[in-house]
Subunit: 220 residues, 2 copies
DNA sequence: AGATCATTCGAACGTTCGTTCGAACAAAGT
DNA sequence: ACTTTGTTCGAACGAACGTTCGAATGATCT
């Protein structure tokens, strides 16, 4: 009793049952810790960041942290899952009601880049610490990631059908992800453009690139 | 006497002075260790791989490794520097004698992807362990990296002048690097296509994308 | 053969790692 | 007031970390 897992289960029940946005003290504190941890993971990498770093940064004692999660690995899992779930949910909202295939892809790009630049630390952790989660945790995050990937494949297939194009959807999608995700290695908030114009330019390059493949046969 | 740094200095002198490709025992052994270390860094990450992992994998005792380099950080530096120097050198050779701007960019893409796929472990370490080297080592690697980047900027500027295009060179180059470098997250040698066809398809997407920007004004 | 050098290793150094434990404090319920 | 439950912490655990040292090999030369 009083163990972390018990506390989490109880607060979760409160969160769902009592009010729409109760935001218990526990949940608020956990969110704070997650934010600090994200920033430290982003700066020093998952393996490079010690629990003592996280303790110092979040202002909570080393032992205190373990009240909120049972291991460092689980902490990374919480960060990754929350980040990915948020971006997928936002995307689905924005796609609703838009039917033009090109416009839908532009929305996908903008949504991705906007969230990427607004939560650069979280997305860097997501992109960079890809394979460190072990079997149980890793599988769940990989599943969300695969869903996100499949959405993008669907959007591109729509475009191909609509415009009668022929190219390798897989390679196009992975190229697009590369263009977008690589941004964490070079974007400096003060000097580079904002998400809107970057999304526009990348959308131009990518969409003109794939749409110029009119009717041609796919490379073998 | 007998210290690592002394040994390295001597063998280096031999390497340069005596014959074109002398390949002393020392150099051969060091190369072996570098290869094994590259593979381990690729699998577990720089921070995640311990010196004991490297010892086990290379078959040399923990202490024995320190005869060949004075620290783990210096080992990463040696790997990164050698990898980058090789790819830049190969590129310069291949570009010689080719003057068509589009063809030169296709050569750049092919060279990058070919080396990337042939030395996937090394390139993953290069891409992934970007900011771990401290001041001295980091600056030197960053300089080679910048030279490589500038070559690509030069190629794209040639294309722009030649075809009268207008777009942001910086964003185009960084997008291209993203497309290419992201490959380490998804390419499976047995199931995915080879460097030639991937380079062709990526070249199509990218070049059609930027070349469709004929005469138009650059986005603000 | 002995001497000199290059190479390798077992054992240990001190430090830092992730994690745990029991006590202490705070809030809420009775 | 006392009890209960939720939250925090100092201190410590054993394990693993990067690195060092002196002795033991192997190789090369006189």
């Amino acid at each position: 009793m009083g163990s972390p897992s018990t506390a989490r289960r109880i607060s979760a029940r409160h969160h769902r049952a009592v009010t729409p946005v109760p935001e218990t003290r526990y949940d608020r504190r956990l969110a704070e810790i997650l934010n600090h941890a994200t920033e430290v993971f982003c700066r020093k990498g998952y393996e490079g960041a010690s629990m003592r770093d996280l303790s110092r940064e979040s202002g909570m004692s080393l032992a205190g942290l373990y009240y909120y999660f049972e291991s460092k690995e689980r902490l990374l899992y919480l960060i990754q899952k929350h980040t990915f779930a948020t971006i997928v949910q936002r995307l689905k909202e924005r796609l609703e009601g838009v039917s033009d295939p090109e416009q839908r892809i532009r929305i996908f790009i903008l949504n991705h880049l906007e969230y990427f630049l607004a939560n650069q630390a979280a997305m860097k952790v997501l992109s960079h610490e890809d394979e460190v989660l072990k079997n149980g945790f890793g599988a769940e995050v990989a599943a969300i990631k695969r869903e996100y990937y499949r959405i993008c494949v669907g959007l591109l297939d729509e475009l191909k059908r609509d415009r009668g194009l022929q190219f390798s959807t897989r390679l196009a999608v992975l190229s697009l992800f590369g263009m977008m995700n690589w941004i964490y290695t070079w974007h400096k908030p003060r000097v580079d453009a904002d998400a809107d114009s970057i999304a526009g330019e990348m959308g131009d390059i990518f969409l003109r690139g794939v749409m110029a493949a009119k009717g041609r046969k796919e490379r073998q």
